[in-house]
Symmetry: C2
Subunit: 185 residues, 2 copies
């Protein structure tokens, strides 16, 4: 649980009460790899913090899997669209390796809302997520295949090290073969 506290403290310094509240309401979840922790149609009512492992986010388009991101240790993940809007998810969340996650349900995070520090954290985290999506979108659109690959190396080297080439290709929107050729060069 300490890792989650450390993560939150990147955003705001927590007081004793806030830490205790988080510890009592967060839950630990252990999963084997390739397990679907969220499916389309389900409402996503949790935010997960990844203590160990990776979680892949993907959706289907014309029967084909499109990987939008792979989250690694010390990051949070959720289906933003489903969580923020309270609508059925359109995407899958799947463990990519054997993983240990810490989850906080939306109900519990509403209970935590009486702690101002925690509200400040959630806002800051959401703000950062927001800004990141915006940044990535722009960055990827402006680059060619090589440039996209290199951008991914800059901002998420872990993905390049640990993900399959096909998933990497999907994230940056090029074909598997092209990523293979970029690597060779």
């Amino acid at each position: 649980m300490q890792k989650l506290i450390d993560y939150i403290e990147q955003f705001v310094k927590l007081d004793r009460e806030s830490i205790e509240a988080i510890e009592s309401l967060a839950e630990i979840e252990i999963y084997k790899k390739n397990l679907l922790i969220l499916k389309p149609g389900e409402r996503c009512n949790k935010i997960w913090f990844i203590k160990k492992g990776m979680v892949r986010k993907y959706h289907l388009h014309d029967g084909e899997e499109i990987t939008s991101w792979i989250h690694t240790e010390n990051e949070t993940c959720t289906s933003l669209q489903s969580y923020a809007q309270n609508t059925p998810s359109e995407e899958y969340l799947q463990t990519y390796e054997d993983s240990e996650l810490i989850s906080i349900t939306k109900d519990n995070s509403e209970k935590l809302a009486e702690f101002p520090k925690i509200v400040a954290f959630v806002n800051a985290m959401m703000g950062r997520e927001f800004a990141n999506i915006d940044k990535h979108t722009k960055a990827l659109n402006q680059r060619d295949a090589k440039g996209r690959y290199e951008y991914l190396r800059e901002i998420a080297p872990e993905i390049l090290k640990r993900a399959k080439i096909g998933h990497i290709a999907s994230i940056i929107g090029v074909s598997r073969e092209t990523v293979s050729r970029i690597r060779k060069a």
Copy 2:
């Protein structure tokens, strides 16, 4: 101001006090076309609601203007990254036609935070913005030039009617010439 109230009431029903609070803190801004209302380096401390006109959002890449979106009547606009993270903006906001905007500064929106209805609105609006960005990104990445153009027609027909072809091309990430050819066909 009524249009802003109507807009907010899409998200939450407002009580009398909330309406009065909004009316006393929101400001009306009148601009001629092509005026820069936000420049890179400035901190964006406002959310604008567009009562009349259009606002183009763009940034520079290798000296070239990349248009990321054009907002039309009855929409809000802001530099999300700058506003949410309180960092200097990396983008320009420019009126695209003579416009009437209603602005609420961040300071004032914090004053409005004592009204729970208004907090609920801000959260809902941010959630929707978030979900939209996410949706657009995915939608555009999966389509070819024609498909992207048609997607834009579905979700923002006003842009196709009123924006210059070069800006439309930039939004969907294809060349001006290609959009011209798509239109001809």
